[in-house]
């Protein structure tokens, strides 16, 4: 049975129809058109589909679409302020923290969630906070550096 879900996505009131067994990942991609949310595994192991749900980082493949009724969802598409990139986004480009880029939306959301709770993370804290996100291109070195650079800049701001 198809259900109507009313939610807030990236600051906008959004309604979408979805099946009872449909994941938030599928709903975001196929019903709402937010293709920046990526599917790498569908089992919560790769983090490519990471979104922030009511302030908490989740794998959208492990959440049902119907569960976001009345809640707040943040995806990579809402990260920048219009044409002005979020510091994480610009630092990821500057530090070459992406190659193929398929994991990047998930990493950005995970890093955002980390920095909100911990504005001055150690390298180890960054590495553990991002351990739920798989990247096969970079070896993580430049991702960690981009997050460190972002944290430093946001602390000064």
């Amino acid at each position: 049975m198809t259900n109507l879900v009313n939610t807030n996505i990236n600051g906008d009131a959004v309604g979408f129809a979805c099946e009872a067994d449909e994941t938030l990942l599928d709903a975001l991609r196929n019903r709402v058109g937010l293709k920046g949310v990526k599917e790498g595994c569908g089992t919560g192991d790769c983090g490519a589909c990471s979104v922030i749900l009511d302030g908490t980082l989740v794998c959208s493949c492990l959440v049902l679409g119907m569960e976001v009724e009345g809640r707040t969802v943040e995806t990579v598409e809402g990260l920048s302020n219009g044409a002005e990139l979020h510091t994480l986004q610009s630092k990821f480009i500057e530090h070459a923290a992406l190659q193929c880029g398929i994991c990047t939306p998930g990493f950005l959301m995970a890093a955002k969630a980390l920095l909100k709770n911990n504005p001055d993370p150690s390298e180890e804290e960054i590495r553990y906070a991002l351990a739920g996100n798989l990247c096969r291109c970079t070896g993580y070195d430049k991702i960690v550096r981009a997050v460190q650079a972002t944290a430093a800049e946001l602390r000064e701001a």
């Binding site: 790498g40 995806t75 553990y128």
Partner: protein
């Protein structure tokens, strides 16, 4: 290769700088379109039914119930992909792998497919397809497959490359041999000989983006395909041939690619999606699940390698001999051959022999994985060389320096080397501060070398000057690691204009001539060569136009700093004409200005690397952590050094995962037991340290800028570097990759038991 492509030793303005990549903003905002992000009006969802058996004959397939399900628009089997391969064995194997015909050969082998209005209906339909299998004995292990009495996959498989032809079929599909000299004579001169057998388990490329495509075939026989691929022209060729289409009538548009590492050099589901679209007369989108990616798309080989190396007390390698058995899945490959070619490529050897055996097993068809086949061979060779160094009391770096190949060395696989980087990377390693840094408790340091050929191949590019003087560069090689930025730098360099005035795009198969795929680290090497030639062609036209505008002979015009300049006493006082001015005048001087080039990029310079690695082993659990890692590699010329570093780091990380943890695990039932990222665990952020890099630049004489491929070599040394580090920490020689915690613990326990036995005997 022509005189135009020779290295000239010029100085650079743009090449070697580190500007931002053109695809960056799209990739951080979610705008970048990958394989699964393309949608077409009226598209259906495709899904594939896969064999649960590792080996079976297909007696019958009944699709009638699936066809009758509401919402199902097409069901296909091998009958809908008839054999049009006309005796082309390689193409037939591709077809048979995409859709099983008489037999299934591995757990995950495709047997049928459906296209339906949505995913739920497609999944329901798959369950309604009845396949009648006759289950056959299977073999998944490389050594078991070559043992007497093993189930033989193909009754007509008689080992190629053996004279006389064997009388009995076997799972050894092909034998290849390389080398020179007389290994027996070489071993006779050795003071120390070590002979060992090594094993490496099968790993997957592990790209985060599953295979995905959208196929649309029109009733007029033309078609379109959007797909994440490393080679859209190759995909077009294979798909068109398998579907019986004219090649030019299939337009393949590459999407952004979410990682490939060799795994997206091969068609898997694309011919199936096209066949579904043809039958349903609607566009079909087909996206693999992660489970399907592991079970049915290209892992690398599992291997078993016998190796023997001899050395004098003074540290001269006298001979090397290796027999390499590589699995290639159910179809013959060239994986053992590549292993045999690369084994001893780092060394200057008088007597060397390598034999490669391609072994058929009931596992998915082996596909290229970054420097395919080289890491396993390097694991064996570099482990034994380290052990030999220990036996003769020589520093392992010095032993390697003593025997390193150099310009003029006849390589173990045949060709004579030009200027190469193995010696310089070893010297840099010896001098690197990492080499002398103190180690902590339970830590060990290892090092190892690696080699990769690098490929060239068919390439063409289009360089169009826009009416405002900015430049659009269209290339036919897929950008997997930042090539669009690098190629824009090359165009900017040649034209003498700023980087940000060049935009590189990857053209579809209908906008450019044929290009080989991005493999063998060829993308930037080959396309930069074609880009340079395209730019030079454009410059000659720009000079002609300037001459026309000035009304002077073209011989009196030169191109410098992005401008046409008049030279000579008579005209030298004319103000230079900028690219923008010439472009603006183009409508009146002869029309649009463009440079085009097509070539076979020969002379890809071979690539070498040396890695240094520190590990810490927990003696209670065997868990091993890499605590420091350094990559030193020759790039020829690093066009965009940051992205070169990225290749070095990424390859090292994949090698570390392979060395310590990643492996395909098959049960006795022949089924893959860990087809997901939870159980096939690739390195995560907290598993790794920062990965230091050092770029050396030994110019490739066969490229105008000295460029060599950089993408693959970095995955070659880690297996051995880590094995050597573990050995140096605990005195145990690891011979089985991955060196997972249980294997290391077992080795430690065994060493301890042996030590206490020695004490008791004493």
């Amino acid at each position: 290769m022509t005189a135009d492509t020779k290295f000239t030793g010029q100085t650079f303005k743009s090449v070697g700088t580190r500007p931002l990549r053109p695809d960056g903003i799209d990739k951080v905002t979610g705008r970048a379109r990958y394989g699964a992000d393309i949608d077409l009006p009226g598209q259906l969802v495709g899904s594939i039914l896969r064999s649960p058996h590792p080996h079976a004959a297909i007696r019958a397939i009944n699709t009638s119930k699936a066809e009758a399900l509401q919402g199902v628009k097409a069901v296909i089997t091998a009958a809908d992909l008839p054999d049009l391969t006309n005796g082309n064995k390689e193409l037939f194997d591709i077809l048979d792998n995409c859709m099983a015909r008489t037999h299934v050969y591995y757990d995950g082998h495709a047997v049928a497919a459906v296209a339906a209005v949505d995913a739920v209906t497609a999944r329901k339909a798959l369950k309604l397809i009845k396949v009648d299998y006759e289950i056959l004995p299977h073999v998944t292990d490389v050594d078991e497959a070559v043992a007497p009495g093993a189930p033989v996959l193909h009754k007509k498989c008689f080992t190629q490359g053996v004279e006389p032809k064997p009388k009995k079929p076997s799972n050894i599909a092909r034998r290849s041999e390389f080398g020179h000299g007389d290994v027996d004579a070489g071993f006779a001169k050795a003071d120390v000989i070590i002979e060992r057998t090594f094993r490496t388990e099968q790993t997957h490329q592990g790209y985060i983006e599953p295979h995905a495509c959208v196929a649309s075939i029109s009733p007029d026989g033309s078609g379109e395909l959007w797909v994440c691929t490393q080679g859209h022209f190759v995909f077009r060729q294979h798909c068109a041939e398998l579907l019986g289409m004219d090649v030019s009538k299939l337009r393949v548009t590459p999407t952004e690619i979410g990682g490939g590492f060799g795994g997206k050099t091969h068609v898997w589901a694309e011919p199936v999606a096209l066949a579904l679209s043809r039958k349903a007369n609607r566009p079909v989108k087909l996206v693999m699940s992660r489970d399907e990616v592991f079970r049915a798309s290209g892992p690398t080989s599992a291997t078993s390698i016998d190796i023997r190396i001899g050395v004098t007390k003074k540290g001269r390698i006298t001979a090397g001999d290796a027999t390499l058995r590589y699995t290639s899945g159910p179809y013959v490959g060239m994986w053992a051959e590549l292993g045999a070619m690369t084994s001893f490529a780092c060394y200057d050897m008088k007597h060397v022999r390598t034999v490669g055996l391609e072994v058929l097993v009931n596992r998915p068809k082996t596909t290229a994985y970054r420097a395919p086949s080289a890491p396993m061979a390097a694991f064996a060779v570099e482990s034994v060389i380290d052990e030999l160094a220990g036996r003769i009391g020589m520093d392992p770096v010095d032993l390697r320096i003593r025997n390193a190949a150099k310009k003029g060395t006849r390589s173990s696989y045949g060709p004579v080397y030009g200027p190469i980087g193995i010696g310089p990377t070893l010297k840099a390693a010896k001098e690197h501060p990492h080499m002398s840094a103190p180690l902590g408790e339970n830590q060990g340091r290892g090092m190892a070398c690696g080699f990769w050929f690098n490929f060239g191949g068919q390439t063409c590019t289009d360089l169009n000057i826009a009416p405002d003087g900015t430049v659009s560069l269209t290339v036919g090689t897929i950008d997997v690691g930042g090539a669009r930025a690098s190629l824009a730098l090359v165009a900017a360099e040649e034209l003498g204009i700023p980087y940000d005035q060049v935009r590189t795009v990857v053209g579809d198969t209908s906008t450019l001539g044929y290009n080989d795929m991005t493999d063998g680290s060829r993308g930037t090497f080959s396309s930069s060569m074609a880009t340079i030639m395209s730019a030079r062609n454009a410059i000659s036209i720009l000079k002609e136009r300037a001459a026309k505008m000035w009304d002077i002979p073209v011989e009196k015009v030169i191109w410098e700093d992005g401008c046409a300049k008049a030279v000579g006493k008579k005209h030298g006082n004319l103000a230079p004409l900028s690219l923008a001015e010439i472009a603006e005048a183009a409508p009146n001087t002869g029309g649009p200005i463009a440079g085009h080039n097509e070539l076979v990029a020969d002379g890809a310079g071979v690539s070498f690397a040396t890695h240094i690695c520190d590990v810490e082993v927990d003696p209670e659990t065997g868990r091993t952590q890499v605590v420091r890692y350094t990559v030193i590699q020759d790039a020829g010329k690093a066009v965009h050094p940051t992205y070169v570093e990225g290749q070095y780091q990424g390859g090292a990380a994949q090698g570390i995962g392979w060395a310590l943890n990643e492996e395909y695990v098959y049960g006795d039932d022949g089924r893959l037991q860990n087809a997901g990222f939870l159980d096939y665990r690739i390195p995560v952020c907290s598993d790794l340290p920062m990965i230091d890099t050092q770029i050396l630049e030994i110019p490739n004489p066969n490229h105008p800028y000295g460029i060599r491929g950089v993408g693959e070599t970095s995955i070659v040394p880690p297996l051995a570097a880590i094995g050597n580090a573990v050995s140096n920490a605990f005195g145990v020689r690891m011979t089985h990759v991955p060196m997972s915690a249980p294997r290391i613990l077992a080795a430690l326990d065994e060493a301890q038991a042996a030590a206490s036995e020695d004490v008791e005997t004493a």
